[in-house]
Amino acid sequence: MIYSIEEILETVRMIQAEHLDIRTVTMGINLRGCISDDIREMNKNIYETITSRAGKLVSEAKAVEEMLGIPIVNKRISVTPIASLLDTPLAGKKNAIEGAVSVAKTLDRAAKDLNIDFIGGYSALVHKGFTTGDSILINSIPEALTSTDRVCSSVNVATTKSGINMDAVLLMGQVMKKTAAINPIGCAKLVVFANAPQDNPFMAGAFHGEGEPETVINVGISGPGVVRAVLSQMDNSDLGELSETIKRTSFKITRMGELVGREMAGRLGVEFGIVDLSLAPTPAEGDSVANILEIMGLEKCGTHGTTAALALLTDAVKKGGAMATSYTGGLSGAFIPVSEDSGMVDAVKSGAIGIDKLEAMTSVCSVGLDMLVVPGDTSPETLSAIIADECAIGMVNGKTTGVRLIPAGKEGEYVEFGGLLGGSYVMPLNKFSSAGFVRRGGRIPAPIQSFRN
């Protein structure tokens, strides 16, 4: 037989029993051609551009899913950061915020009409400062995210090259707080970044960045359940052997992303961009990054040794995946969202993990403090200070970090979001104030590591 029975059954088992899936096929669309000095005209252009280019995204994804027998969980769209479109129609206008929100609603309508799960790119890049469009967009986020269902927003406030824009950090703490006051679920669709990738297919941070082509297909893969299943057979192996096995598994998982990405791009007649080789958990039992760390020998995710175990995992995932795809991109690594990972939620419930350990973990994996529920009465300054800490880790280490916090409920309470977003217990924060520091504003200069020329 051209494939051994073991090989065939391994693939089938990964998909049927171990939750291997293509987490997302994300179409990136350039909207710069839609700019008009009339906001209504611009909304019309945006709707037409998105619906014409992505018209077949869902049907082709379904066809590929059937052909290969692997689920494609999410079909998504990312667009040009909307802030860069707003200056022309809205600068100096009295109802600028309303105008920006109308763009969010247009994106939402396009996503719903196309049956797309999420649309990302209600975004601004303000790591050095604000343009007029950036300010309009950021101030419109609370209303935009709470009056739409599928629109995701991201704001890049820091880079290794330019430092941290602390005025933007302070503002984003206020924006999170205002969004949560209207509806906490809005905060699940908002991420604040340092070193945001331009080709990320995952939400809430996906946008179609500078340097991207007109239209592109990016793919995000998943498979914590598969890694957990292979490691659970390796009780007597040392850590080098675990790393080797994770690499092999990551290679196989990533190949699926490469195949689906090429097939989708070919069918839609657009360029294939990147595979984001990330272990992205889901609330499903066993499909958990925390559980992988526990299989390695930690009683609970969050205990001493967790950062080291996560570093091993992230590195092995990257090494295995790098050979499996021609182009890697996005966030690539291991995701540690709290509410979306049943093992992580257990760790929070049992007190094994808190925000300090999570922050430490973000220095060795992709993403950052993701989907943490924090007390609803947390001050905007404390939220800003948490953002600043994550940005510092991203800036100094030359990596992406993000913050997606949901201020809701009281410490210890359980808050449910539903679907892939899951739910979690409200995590305690440090009780002492950071207000004096974050209110100083200005920019934290780029670190010495940025001088590479």
Binding site: M1, I2, Y3, I5, E7, I8, L9, T11, V12, Q16, A63, E66, M67, L68, G69, I70, K252, R255, M256, E258, L259, E263
Partner: protein, 90 residues
């Protein structure tokens, strides 16, 4: 036209007629079987067929196999060969 193959995986409790029903359905749709292997894995009947589906409608074949699977009480998956080629061959 480049050759297209499908991998058909059948698992379930062994009983007379499983192979017959599947191979007959393939013959009815003019699909040639290139390779066939059958074994018992963890007490379950497991059969793998590799079929030439060049120019055939894969989704129609999937629907037929789903119907047979239901009738025979076995699980049948029909997948394009590429998923195995990509995962297991460099």
């Amino acid at each position: 036209m480049a050759k297209e193959r499908a991998v058909i995986t059948v698992t379930g409790i062994d009983h007379p007629g499983i192979i017959a029903s599947i191979t007959k359905a393939l013959a009815d749709q003019d699909v040639n079987i290139e390779d066939l292997s059958q074994t018992i894995v963890q007490g379950l009947f497991t059969m793998i067929l590799i079929a030439d589906v060049t120019g055939r409608d894969l989704s129609k074949l999937q629907q037929t196999m789903a119907r047979i699977g239901k009738k025979q009480g076995v699980q049948i998956t029909v997948q394009h060969e590429n998923i195995f080629k990509y995962m297991h061959r460099v």
